[in-house]
Symmetry: C2
Subunit: 392 residues, 2 copies
Amino acid sequence: MGWNKVAIVGVGMIKFGELFEKGFENMMEEAYLAAINNVDKGFDPKEIQAAWLGTSRPNLFGFVTIGGAFVSGNLGLIGIPVTRVENGCPTGSDAFRNACFGVASGVYDVVLAIGVEKMRDKSTSEGLLARAVEGHPIINRGETAAVTFSLVATRHMHEFGTTPEQLAMVSVKNRKNACLDPYAHYQSEIKVEDVLKSPMVAYPLHLFDCCPQTDGAAATLLCRADMAHKFTDKPVYVAGLGFGTDYLYFNEKPHFLGFDASVRAAQQAYKMAGVGPKDIALAEVHDCFTITEIVDYEDLGFCEKGQGGKFIESGASERNGILPVNPSGGLISKGHPLGATGIAQMCELFWHLRGEAGQRQVDVTKGYGLQHNVGGFGIANSVVTILSNRAN
Amino acid sequence: MGWNKVAIVGVGMIKFGELFEKGFENMMEEAYLAAINNVDKGFDPKEIQAAWLGTSRPNLFGFVTIGGAFVSGNLGLIGIPVTRVENGCPTGSDAFRNACFGVASGVYDVVLAIGVEKMRDKSTSEGLLARAVEGHPIINRGETAAVTFSLVATRHMHEFGTTPEQLAMVSVKNRKNACLDPYAHYQSEIKVEDVLKSPMVAYPLHLFDCCPQTDGAAATLLCRADMAHKFTDKPVYVAGLGFGTDYLYFNEKPHFLGFDASVRAAQQAYKMAGVGPKDIALAEVHDCFTITEIVDYEDLGFCEKGQGGKFIESGASERNGILPVNPSGGLISKGHPLGATGIAQMCELFWHLRGEAGQRQVDVTKGYGLQHNVGGFGIANSVVTILSNRAN
């Protein structure tokens, strides 16, 4: 079932972290080399006909009005088209989506989708998040990312009885998963009490309810589905793509109980893939804060509205649960370098769907993996991608 | 001849200028409304399934990490996917290109490609161009845009005997054309002497060899070619799309006699369209500086290498010449709001190819129009698009 016009034949990423010793280009190069060097039947970079770069704020490091050209220059791919996509938190996943369109349009056979973001080289006050809305006349009045998401957390607690302990369980689960993920920024376990005792950032979100600020890069090689076996006997297919938007300002939104952008993105992706939540073997979802993963469960149809807290408490989203969520450790453990995050999620799904996720491998009998991002200012953009290890 | 999977069925733009009285959103809204209100058989905005936004530096006005979401919010299109593309000077044309892929992929039937840029609300030292490379460790050492292009001008003069008078003729021609274009920033004629007497910016480029800094917005409505007649009896088809990159740093480039990114983009677009320079009825090309249009003639195959100066001198690119170039007045007269420029060029070709360009209408018997941008830092990105009024 599914769209299946495009296949992923190779992926690569770098270990996420505070990479002060690596430049933007170094990170990009390492992810790219990891991808091309791990294609089962070998890969000649000359096969790449076009590229898409996901990066949100490269101008903090001197890269604006450059667009995609420094991808081709630094990767030895001079001449090929490179589009730079920026789309808030789903920047990487939307670059991937546009790369899929490039292939499915019939114009390109083999393309690269790569995401890179540096979050730590600048001070907090000069960094991407602090300067996200500089210059705007009305937004940016004390609204940090944590404040924005806390609005949803408090309303969800009020309406559905979701507890700080349930929020903390998301962090506990994901940090536990990350101990098996060599690419994660954090690779240590924490307990519910650790989360609840950590400093309050914006009620009810404590420090350990928040993902860290992290540098990262990830890459995927995509091709026409009908030529995928030239590169591997185990291609992973793009079964469905969804993208939803929402009102930009909070005063316009009809409710604070979840993210309508996610709901819309999920509906499109499920429809295109011809599957539903029950068919999903594993999901890599946006957990920039613990509350985000709770409402993701609901917005993506993994459970009924209001049941997100009970879903995490039940163990359903554990690595051995009925629907493992964020076996990689999620953004909570890996960090959230905006341009890289979505593409790193594709890498994780690729490894699981091919049975190559090592100690953190989940049961993929169902055959489908779901990727999800939501965010950007106003939490108004969401991408959902459904991948499959089945051509039909 | 040509790809012809996608058709343009409506276009709109605003008068370019110093639009201090209009916000980013106002400009976007006006261009959008102009497009949807000028579809021959009427247009229901609900038809739009996805959008692509070209904008290069919206963060100067508080719009970063927002991605495309403020398009959907401000235009009453809440819910639809919106991708933001940034690609230096070809930002608008690359947004258009990705919108074409979205349609040709089979995923969307009707989409919007819109470009917006504010260049004048900030002071020169705070503006887009001045801050284009802020933070980069080695670029941005005195290299303004004019300095960068002057390297090509002096080398072209040395190698081929191109003269400052020939450069000035580009400005004279384009300013004359713009007098008939109600959308142009400048609508007054100048003479060769005026250009040569204007202040020197970077030898040999005088003030009137340079395009102004201008605010602008433009929009195109695209659909599957096979449904275009639902909206109009005169669709304009996308016959070919090309995008080329080049080395980012000048010390890496093999020569300073033209832009290899343009050559590569043109080759792709001609091949896809199945036509050559001889088939082009008119061209809207990148003339950020007069030297740019001179080398464009050569890079796009309108004349032999080194003959660009003689080409303008011969009158070949006049509105009644063998290949009219920039009948709109070009960037020299219209200005260059990065996100809007490429899409505004599509608008101009659309009007000419439908015989609706009024007093500035050129002979379109040949049936093809060519759009071109080149630039970004290092002049390393180029888009060429070939449009046609023929379905086959």
